[in-house]
Amino acid sequence: MIRIAEYKEPQHNSFSEKFHDPSKLYLPLSQHTGAPSKPCVKKGDQVSEGEVIAKASGAISAQLHAPKSGKVIDIANWYHPTLKKAPAIIIQCQDEKKEYSPRKDKDIELLTQEKILKTIADCGLVGMGGAAFPTHVKLNPPKKIDTLIINGCECEPYLACDYRLMIEDINKIFKGIRLISKLINPKEIIFAIEKNKPEAIKKVNLLINTKKFGLPPIRSFVLDTAYPQGGEKQLIQLIIKKKVPPKGLPFDVGVLVHNVATCFAIYEAVYLDKPLVERLVSFCGDALVTPKNIWVKIGTTLQELVDRKILEFGKEPKKIICGGPMMGIALNSLDYPILKNAGGFLFLSDQVDDAQEEPCLRCNRCVDTCPMGLLPLEYVKRVKKGEYASLSEFNIVDCIECGCCSYGCPAKIPIVHYIKTGKKYELNSK
C-alpha cells in the first residue's frame, strides 16, 4: 500500500454535466471480460435507443445496446484501449430522445430473483469499476455469500466519478444495493469508502441510519486514503481479514464486491428497464481548462468531446490516459471511444514523468509496498536476463499490476512494464 498525491481537485467538487447528443458512436463488441458480443444488426439498419445491437455469446459475455437512435453505418475495426483495434459497430446518431419512466418500489418488490437477474443480463451490465466482468454472472455465484461489500473507495488519483455519483444519486445506489441483496441474501453489507470523501460518507451514513431500504445489517467502513485498497482482494483483506486464495475469486471467502456505479446501473436496469448506454466519466488532468464529470453515451469518442468544446485544452496534452494514472492505459490519439468500464480519462501535460531508468539499488521499496507480498525486483532482474522460466517460482501471475512498485522505485525502473512482458511469456508457455 502506498500514499499518493490525490489530485482529486477540482473534479471532486464539480457537479456532473450531461452530453447526450453525439453525432457518431463507436461501440466495440468487446467491452467486458469474456467472449465478444455477436452483432445482430447489419450495415444500413436503423436502430432505436436501447435496442440490442449485439448479443452475448457464451456463458461469460454481455449484451450491447444502441446508446442512441440512428443508423448503423458500418461494422469495422476501430480503436480500443486494451485491444488496440477491435471490431465495433458504428452508429450515425439521430436527434431523438428516449424517456425512461421508473417503476414503483412496490412493483419491484414483486419481482422474482430470476426476473431481476434476467433484466440485469438483458441490460448488458458489466462491472463499472474497471474489470468489466458481466454483472449477471457475478450476481449468480456458485457459493453462499456472507458479506456484500459495496466499493466506493475510488483509490486511483484524479478520478471522481464514483464520488460524484455517491453525492448526487445515493438513493438510487441504495436501491441497487437492495436489489443485489435480494439476489444473494448476504448476512451483512459493508459500504467501503475512503476518508477523502467526507460528503459521500455523510450521505451514506445518513441513509444507513434511516433504515428505510429494508436491507440486511449494513454498515459503512471508512478506510484511510491509500492505494490500491479499492482492489477486490485488498479490500476484502482489509475489511474482513480474509485473503482470497491464488486464482480464487471473492466468493471463495464468501464475499461479493460491487462498485457503486454498478449498483447505480442495476437500479437503472431494473427500475427503468434502461440498458447500460451511458455512464458518468471523470475527465481530468492539467491539460484541461476545466476538469469535469460528464454523463456520456457509451461509444462517444474523445475527439467528439473536444470538437464540440465539451473538453477544452489549456495546454497541449502530452499523455492521454484511459483510466486512472496508476493502472490506466496511455492512448495515442483522441479516436478512442468511451467504454462501459471507463471511469475516467486523463489529459496530462506538465505532470508527465519521463525519467531515465537507472540500476536497481535493491532498496526494497517495491517489496515493502507490494499489496500482494511479491518480490517485484526479482521479475525485473529475470525478465532483463531473459530467464522467463524462473518467473513462476515467484508467482508472477499473482501480480495485480497496481503499479505501487513502479511508483516508488527510486531508480525509475518501469517495473510493471517488465512484469507485463514476463506475464506474456508465462501465458504463452502454458
Binding site: I4, K243, D398, A411
Partner: protein, 308 residues
C-alpha cells in the same frame, strides 16, 4: 498532438537514487560534526581525502569502461565518506586514499557497479586496509590530546585490560576510536533521521540492535566484566554499522524475513567476535560475512503466497 505512450503507472514518486544518497550523507552530518569537534583538522582532511579519492576512482573506472559519469548520483561520495568514518583519525593520507580506491574498484565496479556489488564497498576498502596496514588501522589517538598520542579504544581496554569505559564518555564520544564511531548520540540522531525519512528500512537495525542488547544483557548478568548493554551498544562501530552499513540496500536481503535474519545474524556475530575471538571488535567482519550470506538468505525466505 504528440502523445507519449508507455505502460502504467503514469505517476512516479519524487524519490530517486541521488536523493537517497544525499539523505544518507545528511544523516551523517551529526557524526561528522562530532568527529571534527573531537579530532579537528585531521577529521576534515581525512573525510575530504576519502571522498575525493572515491570520486576520482569512480570517474577513472567509468572512463576506462567508456561509460557515462555517475558521480551525480552521490554514491561514490557516500562510499568515501562511510570509509572515512570507519578509519582511525591518524591514518596517513595515502592509506586512506588507497582504501577509497579499493572500495570503489574492488568493492563496487568489479561486480558491475552500483546495485550489483555483493559486499558493502566501504567495508571492503576497510577490510583491505586492515589486512595491508594492520598496525596503522589499530592505532587510535585520544580525542582530547593535541598531539597524536596513541590510546586504546574502549573495546580494547575491556578485552585486554579489563577496564570498562564510563557510559557517558561513550555516549557523547570523548573516547579514542574510529573517526565517525565515537559519538553514540550523533549516530543515533542520524540513524533515527534515516528511519523517519524512510531512507533506510527499520527491520535490520532493529533486529541487530535488539540481538546485541539481549546478548549483552545475558552476559552482563552472568558476569559484569563482559561489559554492560550500554557499553556494547555505544562502544566500537556498532551504531555506525547498524544504521549506515547494515542498511545498505544493495548488499542486504530483499525479503522481509530475510532482513530480520540478516540483523540477528550480524548482532550475534558481532557479540561472538567481541566476547570470544582474538579481535576486540567485529562489526566490519560480521556485516561482510552476512553480505556473503545474503543470496542464500534471499533464496530461503521467499514470501508466502497471498491467500495461501
Amino acid at each position: 498532438m504528440n502523445l507519449t505512450v508507455s505502460n502504467p503507472p503514469h505517476l512516479k514518486s519524487k524519490v530517486n537514487t541521488p536523493f537517497l544518497m544525499k539523505q544518507v550523507i545528511i544523516a551523517l552530518f551529526p557524526a561528522i560534526a562530532a568527529s571534527i569537534h573531537f579530532f579537528g583538522i585531521r577529521a576534515v582532511i581525512l573525510i575530504a581525502n576519502c571522498i575525493l579519492s572515491a570520486m576520482i576512482a569512480e570517474r577513472i573506472i567509468l572512463l576506462l569502461g567508456k561509460k557515462p559519469s555517475t558521480l551525480n548520483d552521490y554514491s561514490a561520495a557516500l562510499t568515501g565518506l562511510l570509509l572515512a568514518m570507519t578509519l582511525p583519525p591518524s591514518v596517513p593520507w595515502y592509506v586512506a586514499s588507497l582504501g577509497s580506491i579499493v572500495a570503489i574498484s574492488v568493492g563496487k565496479h568489479i561486480f558491475g557497479g552500483l546495485g550489483a556489488n555483493i559486499f558493502n564497498p566501504a567495508l571492503v576498502g576497510r577490510a583491505f586496509l586492515m589486512a595491508a596496514y594492520p598496525k596503522i588501522l589499530t592505532t587510535f589517538i585520544n580525542p582530547s590530546s593535541v598531539d597524536a598520542i596513541s590510546s586504546a579504544t574502549p573495546l580494547v581496554l575491556r578485552k585486554f585490560s579489563q577496564v570498562i569505559t564510563p557510559t557517558t564518555a561513550l555516549f557523547f564520544g570523548k573516547i579514542s576510536g574510529s573517526l565517525g564511531e565515537t559519538s553514540a548520540i550523533c549516530l543515533i540522531i542520524g540513524g533515527v533521521y534515516l528511519l523517519i525519512r524512510k531512507v533506510a528500512g527499520w527491520r535490520i537495525p532493529l533486529s541487530l540492535l535488539l540481538t546485541t542488547t539481549v546478548t549483552s544483557a545475558i552476559f552482563f548478568i552472568i558476569n559484569p566484566n563482559w561489559g554492560s548493554v550500554w557499553f556494547h551498544l555505544f562502544g566500537g562501530g556498532l551504531l555506525l554499522g547498524a544504521f549506515f552499513m547494515a542498511t545498505d540496500p544493495v548488499t542486504t536481503p530483499t525479503t522481509k524475513r530475510g532482513r530480520y535474519i540478516f540483523g540477528i545474524g550480524c548482532g550475534l556475530l558481532i557479540m561472538i567476535i567481541r566476547y570470544f575471538s582474538g579481535l576486540p571488535e567485529g562489526v566490519m567482519y560480521s556485516i561482510l560475512f552476512m553480505n556473503a550470506l545474503t543470496p542464500l538468505i534471499n533464496r530461503y525466505t521467499k514470501p508466502r503466497r497471498f491467500g495461501v
